[in-house]
Symmetry: C2
Subunit: 366 residues, 2 copies
């Protein structure tokens, strides 16, 4: 039986965010957002580099004021990833952001003040083929629609998105557009995307907004994102966390990997440790995980706490370690290949993994 | 529109684990497992107390040898939670564990050596109405079945579980039984539970085994557990993590809360911070989260980074804070109720929450 669910991906229109294709037959893209002060070019670029090295493909930066726009030019020039400018209230900043060379802008129709200015912005985006995300947020739904629906229901969010998508398509004949429909409630988020996806083939940027911290936010986002991706909905993923944005990238790939949609890092099986465990398994696990974040390969590794059950229980792993008192085992494809002293376990294991990867270059990702 | 999905829970047989009802109309139970050395009674009891205080309702301890059995007696006597003994290989230890007073045992048919000893064990369990979990694990499936299926497929796992359930029911007329069918692959786990649930009405203990560390394990478990619970499958949850077991309890409740199945802690909405944010939102969030883990109430709190969007975007929160430069806002049910200096923001906020809870005692859980 397949390790992964069979997913029939909804066919969406292919769009471009700079060099990155989204929707259509493109892989599901992983993106994040910087949380540095955009005006601080150096810190922002450092964070972008950390995001890129973790596998992030698109990065968004907030553009709250003129000084952020000025910094944007330098950020765009130096960034290894295409930049999306996040705008609120003042669409005239958007025009300047486009002139600074961003590949995409995100606008929230709920915070627009002036429709004429929006037209101007769409026109410069079209001129430069800059991608526009219509980013609906339940917490800031446009007042006209909110008044009619009373609360920001999924249907209300979808209506707002369709209204602006149609406006841009009809008035400007411009199609380099994507949509997000986020609520801090995962179920409303899911329902809004499902509804929109039934009606429109514009690509979708998915995720839960204001989801919370590393753990609670990972739970909410995983619930929504895995639910949607299983139904074939979603073309680019952003996991919002009140945490280091690099973690957003790891969580996104973990979900995609478990759905069989994209593999970047090794998968790590690890037992939760119990009263049978005689080594510091948690310490061992953390070191393996940290190290594995530097490896881009389609690999299954195992970190097991007991030498009796370990190798058997982790039979499906390509390589694994099982710790015992003073001694550890290294196993490969279900067979024990080495017995080493506990202090040498990690270095011997990493060596074995590297040898395995040399023998199996087809396992390397990218 | 409802905040939560409509879930039609599969009707399972009600069983008892000491004073704790599982299945039937009982709430979905949250359980965990100690990772201390069971022979160390004091450390084990300390961990059990931490688990209880986090909302854990059932705790499992490994019983690898005779010395662990001896310690078990003291653990059972002092534990505020019913204890499940985890057994492998040696079922005679199980008899002694039952005599030590545990409320449940977990046996893994894949590791049995001696069927006659199993009969003995079931008999003492029946005498004392001790709950038995048939805990199937893909990594240690019984060899006879594995030989036929070649790999530990979901169907093979279900066959093993049904075989032992039927054996105990038919030979001993004993029904205080539950089942788990775990793989380290979340999709196989889900498929095994779905299949079993179609055939049998014994209650199910759900979770992914060897799921990995705090983040990767949370992702895998959330995918499987939320998928199953949405389909009405699952009566007790254990989130296996290679981490502090207390985190397993928080993750379990976070999933249950987002499905509208159980509420224990406040829900926290928090923005992910961006270049618009002028305060240390992550620090603020962590303090609110830590504090909220001590509150058992059905509450929605918000921690927002900007005073402009914050109160609006977190409109649905009961209470929230929005930080600005040097100053913070406290809002209640969408309205700003206080403006305080940044240093006083947290204490003023906690005061407001406590006042709110005094005014709304119906919001308190338990």
């Amino acid at each position: 039986m397949s390790q992964y669910p069979r997913i029939k991906r909804k066919k969406t229109r292919e769009i471009w965010l700079g060099p990155v294709g989204i929707g259509g037959a493109n892989p599901i893209r992983v993106q994040s957002m910087t949380n540095t002060d955009t005006r601080d070019v150096k810190s922002t670029l450092n964070q972008i580099e950390r995001l890129r090295s973790a596998g992030c493909e698109i990065v968004r930066v907030a553009v709250p004021d003129e000084r952020a726009v000025s910094a944007l030019k330098d950020i765009v020039r130096e960034s290894p990833l295409p930049i999306v400018a996040d705008l609120h209230f003042d669409t005239s900043l958007g025009v300047k952001a486009v002139e600074a060379g961003v590949s995409g802008i995100r606008i929230n129709p709920g915070t627009f003040k002036n429709k004429k200015r929006l037209d101007e912005l769409v026109m410069v985006c079209k001129e430069r083929q800059v991608c526009i995300r219509i980013g609906i947020n339940a917490g800031s739904l446009e007042s006209e629609i909110l008044k009619r629906y009373k609360t920001p229901t999924p249907k209300a969010m979808v209506e707002s998105a369709l209204k602006w998508i149609n406006y841009i398509v009809e008035k400007f004949d411009y199609y380099n557009l994507k949509v997000s429909l986020k609520s801090s409630n995962w179920w409303h988020t899911v329902k809004a995307y499902e509804e929109f996806s039934r009606i429109s083939d514009f690509p979708l940027h998915i995720g839960v907004t204001e989801a919370g911290g590393l753990i609670t936010g990972t739970v909410k986002n995983t619930m929504a994102v895995s639910y949607l991706l299983l139904k074939g909905i979603g073309d680019t993923v952003r996991i919002s966390l009140t945490a280091d944005p690099v973690e957003e990238v790891y969580v996104a790939y973990e979900i995609l990997k478990n759905l069989g949609l994209r593999s970047l890092y090794p998968d790590i099986i690890a037992c939760p440790t119990c009263g049978r465990c005689e080594i510091d398994l948690m310490g061992l696990y953390k070191k393996v995980e940290e190290w594995a974040r530097g490896i881009r390969a389609n690999l299954k590794l195992a970190v097991m706490g007991c030498v009796v059950n370990g190798p058997g229980e982790a039979r499906e792993a390509d390589l694994g370690i099982a710790g015992g008192k003073g001694v550890g085992l290294i196993f490969k494809e279900g067979k024990i290949v080495k017995k080493v002293r506990e202090e040498e376990l990690l270095s011997a294991f990493f060596e074995e993994v590297e040898r395995f990867l040399k023998e199996h270059p087809e396992r390397m990702n990218q």
